[in-house]
Every structure is written in C-alpha cells, then in structure tokens.
C-alpha cells in the first residue's frame, strides 16, 4: 500500500525542481527565455536548433550555467539526505552532516592543498583541492570512528563527542595554515565559505555517481532508520543488527557528504534545515522524508546559488547566504512550532 502523500509530494517536488532549473538557467547576464532553453535542451537530443536562437546561447546554457546549476542541485540533495541519516542515527534532531567533523576534515585538507600550492606545489588546483578535501574528510571519519569504537557499538554520545574533539583540533590546524598563508589567506577563506563558481560537467558526473546511489541505499534502509531513533535496545530487539547498520549508513552518508564538500566547499544549514522543515510538514517517517528532503534540498540550494549568481551585485559565498537566509527562517519556524506545542 502506498500512502497517497507519497504520490502527491514527490511528483510535485520534482515538478518544482524542474521548473526551478529551467528558470535558473534562463537567468543571468544574458537573459534566455524558458522556451528557448527547452529548445536548446531538445537540440542536445538531436533536434535541430531554430535559427531564431542566438548561436552563443547553447554554449551559455550547456557549458556555463547547467553544470553549475546541477552541481548546486546535487550538493543540496546530497547534504539534505545525509542530514536525515545523521539525525536519525545520532537520535538527535539537531545533528547535521557536519556533526562528526567531516566539514572540518575537508576544510583542513583543502587548506593544506591551498597552502602547498602557495608554497610552490605544481599541480592543477582544480584537481588537487577537491582531492585533498575528500581525503581529509575520509581520514577524519576514520579517526572519529576509531576514537569512539572501544564501545564497539558507536553510541551516539561517543560519536558526537569524538566529532567535537577532532573538529576542534582540525580548526586549530586550519587557523595555523591561515596564519602561514599570510597575505594569500583569501583563497582559503573563500573555499571555506563554499561556492559553485566554475563547476564543470566532470563535477556533475562525480556528484551523480556518489549522491544518487548513496541516497537510494539510504532509502532502502528507511525502516531501520525509523526504528534506530528509539535507541539500541529497542532496535536490536526488532531484529536490526544496530551496530552494523549504523556503521554502514554513517559511512554511506559521510562519503556522500565528503564528495559534496570537496566539490562545493562548506555549505552549512542545508543538511540541518531541510530535513527539519520536511519533518515538520511530513512527519518523521523516513520513507517519505528521505526522497522529499533530497528534492527540497536540491530546490533550496539551487535557489540560494541563483540568488548569489544573478541578483546580488557581487557574488556572495553561498555558505554565507544559506546561513544568513536559512538561519532566521529556521528560527522563526522553530519558535512558531515551539509555541504551538507549548499551547497544546
């Protein structure tokens, strides 16, 4: 039996996402109408392009705007789904994909790559920075797991605590690297705040390879995720190998996050707010929550990126924008919800 809400929510969110992508592709220094965009997209499938359309438009859409738009979409979706997983597994609605220090690890890796480049390492920056960021994120995850694993069960408190400790050390490391970078510190600061400038199809491909399979794997575990919010004893007695499933899902969500972060830099709040908002609207059941969070995460980050790209006089780093817009909205909704609950 499929709940009617599943049939309403997912198609509507997909529709909104498609419309947002087309609108966003039309916006920018050169404004292109939605009809023209559809014709350009169809021309990629082999249809002939009408001659009324400017010959530079296909290049603008296909090689400049779409890779950036799709990167933002996939990073938004990936972070939002990881947020769902971290919140369920750590039994804490305030957890997000960065709780275990993955962001700090990636930031440290990226900073290290940037400082090495400054000090004369001759390697392509576009390749070496994401690679270092990803390695940093994975290494951090490994250290956090090792730190909290004597209990063998990876209890949520020991995981969160290990995450905080490792993050703190890495933050100090990042500060030290910034100090070393001296006058060229801007490159590091800019990376840390996240951006989709100059994303290419290879970034999109990498994101597709990671975020989509990870999301599907997570979705397959939707009932386990629901049950694990009740604690280990409860989930063990329902036949879940809690320690194994928890580790498996944390690794999947973390790898997905690590790829997102290494492509875009650190974008906060999406992984916290999107699952939270969706949960307020749809309830906590992960079967509906995971796909809807993915789609809403896509839409939200694309909107944010389009705002910085099109509407602001200078490009504001997207991480700053998501926090500046998302934070207050979140406060308002959270407060409203608390009041309602308090009155009831």
């Amino acid at each position: 039996m499929i709940k009617p809400s599943l049939l309403i929510w997912i198609p509507s969110l997909v529709a909104v996402l498609v419309i947002t992508i087309i609108l966003a592709a039309g916006l920018g220094y050169i404004s292109i109408s939605a009809g023209e965009i559809c014709q350009i997209l169809l021309s990629q499938l082999g249809l002939t392009l009408p001659e009324t359309i400017d010959q530079s438009y296909p290049f603008v859409i296909m090689d400049v705007r779409l890779p950036r738009i799709l990167s933002a979409v996939l990073v938004g979706g990936g972070l939002a789904v990881s947020g769902c997983v971290f919140q369920s597994i750590l039994q804490n609605p305030l957890a997000d994909p960065y709780t275990l220090g993955i962001s700090s690890g990636a930031a440290f890796g990226a900073s290290l790559a940037i400082i090495l480049l400054i000090f004369g390492l001759v390697l392509p920056a576009a390749l070496i920075i994401p690679l270092f960021a990803f390695a940093g994120a994975v290494a951090t995850l490994y250290v956090v797991f090792t730190l909290s694993s004597p209990s063998a069960r990876l209890s949520s408190n020991s995981l969160i605590l290990s995450g905080i400790i490792v993050s703190a050390i890495l933050s100090a490391g990042i500060s030290f690297i910034k100090f070393l970078a001296d006058e060229q510190v801007n490159a590091i600061i800019f990376w840390l705040m996240g951006s989709f400038i100059g994303k290419t199809w290879s970034d999109v491909l990498l994101l597709i390879i990671m975020t989509i399979p990870c999301t599907l794997l997570i979705l397959v575990h939707h009932r386990e995720l629901d049950i694990m919010t009740f604690g280990e004893r409860a989930s063990d007695s329902l036949g879940i190998d809690t320690a194994a499933v928890r580790k498996r899902l944390l690794v999947i969500a973390s790898l997905s996050t690590a790829v997102c972060v290494s492509v875009s830099g650190i974008i906060g709040f999406v992984g916290l707010i999107v699952p939270h908002l969706m949960r307020m609207i749809l309830g906590p059941g992960n079967r509906l929550l995971i796909p809807c969070s993915f789609l809403f995460g896509c839409i939200m980050l694309l909107c944010a990126d389009t705002i910085t790209r099109v509407f602001l006089p200078t490009e504001l780093p997207i991480g700053v924008l998501t926090a500046l817009i998302g934070g207050p909205i979140f406060c308002y909704i959270f407060r409203k919800n608390q009041l309602e609950r308090w009155r009831a």
Binding site: T229, G231, R233, S237, G239, I240
Partner: protein
C-alpha cells in the same frame, strides 16, 4: 526439535563490567509457556541478565540456548521472530504517531522491499487494543505521558508476535490499573497461547500475584528459583532488602506481602 528444548537455557554465564562481576557462574533453565518473574535488589544483575538472554550483550563466559540453539547462531532478524524485549528506557526524539511506532514491531515480518500487508495491520490493531491505547492511535508519541509511552512500547512488542517476551521493569511508570492490566494480558498470553514471558519487576506484590515462577537474583547469582509460593517468604525478603514483612495468603493460594514500616 523436541518439545523439551523449547525455552531459554543459560549455562554458567559470567559477565563483568571491568573488575566488577555483574553475573557470576549463573545457570538457569526457563521452560516455554510459563510466566517468570525476575526479582532482586537494585544492582543484583536483573537488567544484565535480560540483556544476555535477549542477545543484546554477549557473556564473557558461558552459553545461552534459545529453543536448543546457541543464541549467537541466530541472525538478528531470525531471533526477532522468536524473542522480543521491552527495554526499561528508550529514546523518543522524533514525533511518530502511536500507530507508526506499533507498526515498527512488524519490521522483522516485513521483507525489505515490501510494504505492510493486511495481516500486519490486523496485528497492530490487536496490540493497540490489548494495551487499551486505541484512543491514542493517531496521536504523536512525544505528546504522551510517560506511562502512555510505556504502553505504546509494550504494544509494539506484542505486534512483533514472538513466542518469548522479555519485559524490563515495564510497569515502573504506570498507574496501578495499567500495571495490572499489562500483567493480566501477559498472563493470558502465557495461559492461552503458550507464550513465555520473563518480567523483571521490583513490585514484589505484582510478581507474587501474576508470575508463576520467580527467579531471585542477588549479587549476580540465583538465590532462589521456583514457583512463587515456594520462593516468597518473610525470611527471603528480609535477607534481600532488609525489610520486615508480613505475608498473608488468599483462599486460592496467592501471597500478599505487607510491608512493616518502622
């Protein structure tokens, strides 16, 4: 599998937290189809004993057999079709509805890519009805009182439809009427359907009134084990808890424990 291997058997169980032995060389055989009460002072090892026989933790020494098969030979999902535990404490951080929570009890019965079937819904409704929480079915669990949450967790275990049910102090948060009602339900499941219930209790009167056999734990080992009327005595309670009591007996043989407060 023969009838007499049904049930749980623990052999020379040893479990310690660091240097402190929690259970020491404990052996016991719990037959299928009976209602066992597990009593003993705080720290006597009741919860650890339940954790071990439910497979949640493994003993450092000794073996537990469930229906004649070593506990560690079961896959978690297989064991969940035979045995369930209602833990003493659980987390509630997300606002599921009561019905959703009880439906989670059907998890071991539902294949990964399937949805709940007719039978699952029937089981859930029966469990909700048995626990007297039908009026709460569409409510959100975080808005419920402690006792109501406790009953939801018991309903979830019943929806799991297992032959053995382990209860860890489930009546501790409940009003007396709900405690009695849960104990009566459990006794009925034992009598009518031949299920096995093992309940850790600290209310001695509750244990004396509903359980058939008592396992008395003291300092990690079994002090006494047998039918309620043979186990409960003024001397035992005084030894265990250092409290004076006065025992009375019903016409039908039930023991009542009166505590003498001095």
């Amino acid at each position: 599998m023969t009838e007499n291997t049904k049930g749980l058997r623990a052999e020379k169980i040893h479990f310690s937290y660091g240097d402190i032995a929690c259970l020491d060389d404990l052996s016991v055989e719990l037959k299928a189809g009976r209602f066992y009460g597990l009593i003993g002072p705080n720290g006597s090892g009741k919860s650890t004993f339940l954790d071990i026989i439910s497979g949640f933790i493994s003993p450092q020494k000794g073996i537990v057999y469930c229906n004649g098969v070593k506990l560690q030979h079961y896959l978690p999902a297989e064991l969940a079709l035979i045995l369930t535990t209602v833990p003493q404490s659980f987390y509630l951080n997300f606002d599921y509805t009561v019905h959703d929570v009880v439906m989670m009890g059907r998890h071991p019965h539902i294949p990964r890519f399937a949805s709940p079937k007719e039978k699952d819904f029937t089981c859930v409704e029966e469990a909700i009805e048995l626990l007297g929480i039908s009026h709460l079915a569409t409510r959100r669990v975080m808005q419920l009182s402690g006792g109501e949450k406790q009953r939801v967790m018991v309903a979830r275990a019943l929806a799991q439809d297992t032959e053995m049910i382990l209860l860890d102090e489930v009546t501790s948060n409940l009003d007396i009427n709900h405690s009695i009602s849960i104990m009566k339900t459990m006794l009925r499941l034992v009598k009518n359907e031949g299920r096995t219930v093992i309940a850790a209790l600290h209310d001695l009167n509750m244990a004396a009134a509903f359980c058939e056999d008592l396992i008395v734990l003291e300092q990690g080992n079994i002090k006494q084990f047998g039918p309620v009327c043979e186990v409960i005595s003024e001397g035992l309670i005084s030894q265990l808890y250092g409290v004076d009591t006065h025992l009375t007996r019903d016409p039908d043989g039930k023991r009542h424990i009166q505590f003498i407060y001095r």
